[in-house]
Subunit: 312 residues, 2 copies
């Protein structure tokens, strides 16, 4: 693993992804008393950064593996990402989803030609079903966040951001399964001399924060809910060591802080972001005293939200 | 009036405005079976193209006129645009608004340091009050759409779009007071050999459509309502002759078509646009059979919408 690896990954995924724009707002700079650069992965294909990791994971397979397809379990953005990446590369994707997943999410996967395999709605059933598909179909299992190639793919967000704005002092990302922040830490390590990585996490599902404190992977209560529903997942053995070593700080935010940050971006930036994406910006707003007169990148992770059912 | 005039106007307003991005969507191209380029004035300063016309109108004043300030009547985007442009140029702005205008619109004007002067809520009271301010303060009256310098300022949207995409076959704009479409017609005349201008108008307030048919300025019933509330205003003697001579066609759309077009852009483009902005796209969707395999520009006029009160 070195800078050359990351450059190769970026070159490999480039034909399949958008180079997303970086937006700024004078008013938000005034509010934060610092310069803020929003890297807009809500404009990524299928609407989230997950497209990058899914694409890289599939491209890293051998010809033989590709012929047998890929499988994952997800009812969120990774389900769509793996389906679309597989379709573009010409590989079959099996998506294990809970029976009670919202129809709109199932439809999105179907649009991208992913084959849905239903399971009961609990983590064990989900993993058992994915394992069953893996064995029966010979498909390669790709975890949404705890996978080296997925992590390398997600690193390309920060690579692009730092190529455009090498002067950044900080990059903020949300923390869910840990793939995005782990990739960001790797990118920063090789593409910046000074930039530090800060994580934003909902206080209701602060497993990463607690994992840093205890030094081992912690979990959330299965009843814990947050509007940032993409961030309920846990860290894993591939990304936790990277995060533990490289993250500067994790800032925890309340639900109301997430909603307010989301609304501020909608109203002032005129862009649609999902609640999970607002968590990194909410973290900056909460702790802005510590980032005055700096250059701060914020990764807007995605824009897939039901516009008919908003929290404001 | 020639191409040089437009170039001078553009150079004059440039330091005060954003060059807004042009966005595209593969899915929307598929739906429309044509190539669509969205010129995103929702990302303009204060959130709408009106900033351009307001800026140019103030910059065209003499030093003596600037010292006495400007006045307009508007409760919409032009109220904010004139306030912000005046603030940036260092001129006083008086904004005549109906007493019952929403507090959020009054607050927006105040943010930009416009001085609000209240009047009764009818067109005559509004014009009388603006005239009173004009005489008492010596301020120059600037009409939101029926003013030569405003029209020239609005022309800069299409100038930028055609500089970036000279191959466009059509540009679609919404029609309200007529300033944007008149400016677009002027820009197309001097910056394209082949491009044609199409207007989109809500069927509920189709005064421009009827004006073209009768050959004289027609009005809307004062009770007519549309979700595209920015488009309820009428054409005037400055812009109607330009529109009459230069518009290719006006396509009228139903309220449901406006809402569906708006929702499609929100969901697929991940950008926030106001209902008036969706009218031009709704017109293309309605009449798409006539624009297959072409290059079509759509002007997204603005993004100022109450996100807590959506039509879907």
């Amino acid at each position: 693993m070195n800078k050359q690896t990351l450059i190769q990954v970026h070159n490999r995924v480039k034909p399949y992804i958008h180079k997303t724009p970086v937006l700024t707002s004078e008013l938000i700079n005034e509010i934060c008393e610092t310069k803020v650069y929003f890297k807009c992965e809500n404009f990524q294909k299928m609407g989230a950064f997950k497209m990058r990791g899914a694409t890289n994971a599939i491209l890293s397979l051998t010809e033989e593996q590709r012929n047998k397809g890929v499988v994952t379990h997800s009812s969120g953005n990774f389900a769509q990402a793996l389906s679309l990446a597989a379709k573009k590369i010409g590989v079959k994707a099996f998506i294990v989803m809970p029976k009670n997943a919202p129809q709109v999410k199932k439809n999105a996967v179907k649009t991208y030609k992913g084959e849905i395999i239903e399971c009961d709605s609990n983590p064990i059933a989900r993993e058992e079903m994915a394992e069953k598909v893996r064995i029966e179909k010979g498909a390669t299992f790709i975890h949404p966040s705890n996978d080296d190639e997925v992590i390398l793919g997600q690193a390309t967000v920060a690579i692009e951001l730092l190529e455009e704005y090498p002067q950044l002092d900080y990059i903020f990302t949300p923390i869910g399964g840990g793939g995005l922040i782990a990739g960001t830490i790797l990118a920063v390590k090789y593409f910046s001399e000074k930039c530090k990585v800060i994580g934003g996490e909902p206080i209701n599902v602060d497993d990463a924060y607690r994992s840093l404190l205890s030094g081992k992977i912690e979990y959330n209560d299965s009843n814990s809910i947050t509007i940032a529903d993409g961030l309920r997942t846990f860290l894993g053995d591939r990304n936790f060591p990277i995060i533990k070593k490289g993250v500067e700080k994790i800032i925890r935010v309340e639900e109301t802080e997430i909603i307010n940050a989301m609304k501020l971006i909608w109203e002032r930036m005129k862009i649609i972001i999902e609640p999970s994406s607002a968590v990194a910006f909410a973290a900056l707003l909460k702790d802005k005293e510590n980032y005055k007169n700096k250059e701060v990148g914020i990764i807007i992770s995605g824009g897939n939200v039901d516009v008919t059912n908003l929290p404001f």
